[in-house]
Symmetry: C2
Subunit: 343 residues, 2 copies
DNA sequence: CTGTTAGCGCATTCAG
DNA sequence: CTGAATGCGCTAACAG
């Protein structure tokens, strides 16, 4: 903080009035004469007075700061969610304290504790992939912090949540592959204890079952993480199979891109020999060769809605409002990495 | 903030001692008996006491919060810089308040003012592309806020700065193109009033001049912004020329990707007919077809160093330390979108 | 070693 | 309408 901040007392001394009068003028209370008010406001402007939020926070017991924790900010996905959060929150005077857990459970706990100490007014959290229990979140909730979980569900933990219907997205994607004539559809999955990975895998499996396809273990590969490198490794495994798949549904675009490069290197044609589908619809997906069919997610809206729910919570006194569980719908975007529907 | 926070006074009442004694125990002052200390610490743990940072901030006149303002968090570039900042700052107990200006000058001013009110301890700023004057930054500096400008230089504004040597990066790239036999090298530039765009363009021009090439206005195109879409539009313009260029040096990878798709659509071979070079070396660049030659920037380190400089500043009492101006070196990464050097 | 006092900057009683 | 007093939670200076 700066050394010589102009305070309400400075103004009071200058004008030979009491600090409370200054306060009244500044907050334009009705209990002050118009003339005085003007004089005070003028001086305040001239002396560049600005209220000390810290003192106010201490007094009001609220900071107007929201804590946001995501697994990683570098990903297009989460930064876009933050974008949505920011846009929602900006106009309401709330500031964002953002931190990333780097997919570490311990880090997540540390960050949350630090933010609780700062007394943020609420939390927006997308848990790390290694977050196995939710004691830390429960602790926050129970000590009265409003919090909203977004994108990654915490199964079994009761709280406000906003997620994308991964299951439906996967179902759409795989059914499309089936409709375009693919017979041997593989799946490259993401980190196993991610709710999103589970749901997408389930969508994949159910799409197969629904269409009387066999679910083959050998066609389901799970990489280390959800990166392009992981996609490369997983795809290589699939290419070692006796009988190659004729389609691959990937957990996300990053994996799909890695897979694409491996397929290409092996001289296999996309989509003629193998159809490829990603998830997320990242900005570059349409610029790949071939352009990537992918499941678009309303991730910006997800951020927006999460923030809205938190703000609503903050602006209501009612305590025991039911927790909300919002599910946003994804959408399949068909491009050139998958075969076309026959007319 | 939570309704029923446990305070130092609560503990004091419980134990029938004065608040200062509690304070001493908590801060393990030497002026307290070991026994009492233990008792107090135990109770504090049991009652889940946690210090109120707000009160401390008000007292110490520092919040341990750093304000970070970037043009956009969604970009890989800036989110990686934030990553570096976070990693540097995390261990020192500082928290980050992050906001994006969305390349808007007015928004930048608003954000900065809000952060100043919160009394952040310092600023890390990468100005928007529409920031034409630096009065707001000067105001911050003059009211005593330490601030570090990173990535985008504010020409003429004297302050700590950390930037990448765009000029040298561009020079490397274009000289490489020349060495591989390109004769007619075009340039697609970014937003005109960005220091980075200026420097890259200058690097391009100087590389040409140094090698006795003519600088042709028709070969320099400037798009609306720095997006892939802008790259598409700019490349189309270049393809309308009587005589096509045999190389295009782009302001960044996004533009290059857009350009690549246009070139491909027109049945022109990369790199045989046109060499393509980007800037930033985004993670997907190596997965494009052909993989993109690009200038890698030490952007993570840029964040790291900026944060370090700010922290150093914060930990020194000395006022009139000279402002630092750090320039990080980029590096050309050669891939398949440019011709190879002849042996 | 420990308690009392004061004050960080502010808004909100309560008396005038 | 206005001023004095009080307290948000905490530490530091000052007396014991």
């Amino acid at each position: 903080m700066r050394k010589n901040q102009v305070t309400i007392t400075d103004l009071a001394r200058e004008l030979n009035v009491s600090p409370s009068t200054i306060s009244r003028a500044l907050n334009n209370s009705p209990f002050i004469s118009e003339e005085r008010k003007r004089v005070i406001l003028d001086l305040a402007a001239k002396m560049k007075y600005s209220p000390n939020q810290l003192a106010l926070s201490l007094l009001n017991k609220r900071t107007k700061i929201l804590g946001v924790v995501v697994p990683e900010i570098t990903s297009y996905y989460f930064s876009t969610a933050i974008n949505g959060i920011q846009d929602k929150v900006g106009s309401s005077g709330y500031k964002l304290m953002i931190s990333q857990s780097n997919e570490s459970f311990e880090e997540e706990i540390r960050i949350l504790e630090a933010m609780a100490l700062v007394r943020v007014d609420g939390f927006l959290i997308s848990p790390s992939s290694n977050t196995v229990n939710f004691d830390h979140l429960e602790k926050l909730r129970d000590s009265g912090f409003p919090l909203v979980i977004f994108d990654r569900d915490c199964l079994g933990f009761d709280i406000d949540k906003v997620v994308v219907d991964d299951y439906s997205g996967a179902l759409q994607a795989v059914e499309y592959l089936i409709q375009t004539g693919c017979k041997r559809i593989a799946h490259i999955s993401g980190s196993t204890n991610l709710s999103t990975a589970k749901h997408r895998k389930n969508g994949y499996i159910d799409a197969l079952l629904k269409n009387n396809f066999e679910v083959l273990e050998e066609l389901i590969v799970c990489g280390e993480d959800s990166s392009s490198e992981s996609g490369v490794a997983s795809m290589k495994k699939l290419l070692e199979l006796e009988e190659l798949p004729d389609a691959v549904f990937c957990y996300n675009d990053a994996i799909a891109i890695g897979a694409m490069s491996v397929i290409r290197e092996n001289g296999i044609k996309i989509p003629d020999q193998i159809s490829l589908v990603g998830f997320d619809d990242e900005p570059y997906s349409s610029y790949f060769k071939p352009s990537l069919t992918s499941v678009w997610q309303p991730i910006y809206d997800l951020g927006l809605l999460s923030a809205k729910i938190l703000l609503d919570k903050l602006n209501t006194d009612v305590e025991d409002m039911k927790y909300r569980f919002e599910v946003l719908k994804p959408e399949l975007v068909i491009r050139d990495s998958s075969r076309k529907l026959k007319e």
